[in-house]
Symmetry: C2
Subunit: 104 residues, 2 copies
DNA sequence: TCAACATACCTCGCGCTGCGAGGTATGTCA
DNA sequence: TGACATACCTCGCAGCGCGAGGTATGTTGA
């Protein structure tokens, strides 16, 4: 199926180190409100990716509050590449079907 | 989430009346093996769409064997439009995110 | 002639993923 | 001091996808 949330997270974190709460807003912004991933999605995915070694966490105190910043590891970049490719495949597959049918 | 199978089915049937078994192969072909919807996906979706009035079924005997041909109703065409639009939205949303991040 | 394969239909039930809702703690501002 | 924002987290349900299995008929070839 999808793996879309995972793709989006890795992509954002690859561009810039970020923490969970920020990612929620960031993704909403960058997709133009189209895709809204709540915290119930973000945090589990984040933890999963850290577990599998695709992300590295770093606790940081900012203005008395603790944030957990995540950055992409080499393994994560590899994973990102796979997911991007996968997304291309799916996208072009579906678009081919849509195009083919309307041409028929 | 997706609704991708539904979209693909409606799209194909909108172009041409077809039966379930045929759709399985057709979709595999038209998406270039990228997307393979098994019978366990096709038939339930087909029945659901018929139930909701988006499709109309027509039994037909061909070479002794019975086939159930489905065609799209007005309601189905409307539904198809919605799903297509939805797919555009998702697609451009994700691509925006991918583009924005790589530009960063 | 009969096994094996293709056509054509169908359903059950598992598995995974997404996600809303709820819960904690701290800082800030009226 | 209460309300709101920031920041983290988890539980558990819901829904969808889909593999596996089941029926029945026609065809083909050893």
């Amino acid at each position: 199926m999808s793996g879309v949330p995972e793709l989006l997270l890795l992509q954002q974190l690859n561009a810039e180190e970020m923490y969970g709460y920020e990612l929620v807003k960031r993704i909403r912004g960058v997709t133009g409100e189209t895709i809204t991933l709540g915290e119930g999605v973000i945090y589990p995915v984040l933890h999963g990716l850290e577990q599998s070694g695709a992300l590295k966490a770093r606790r940081k105190k900012v203005a008395g509050r603790t944030r957990v910043y995540y950055s992409v590891t080499a393994k994560g970049r590899k994973r990102l590449g796979i997911l991007q490719h996968e997304w291309q495949r799916i996208q072009s597959g579906i678009n081919a079907a849509l195009g083919a049918a309307s041409r028929a």
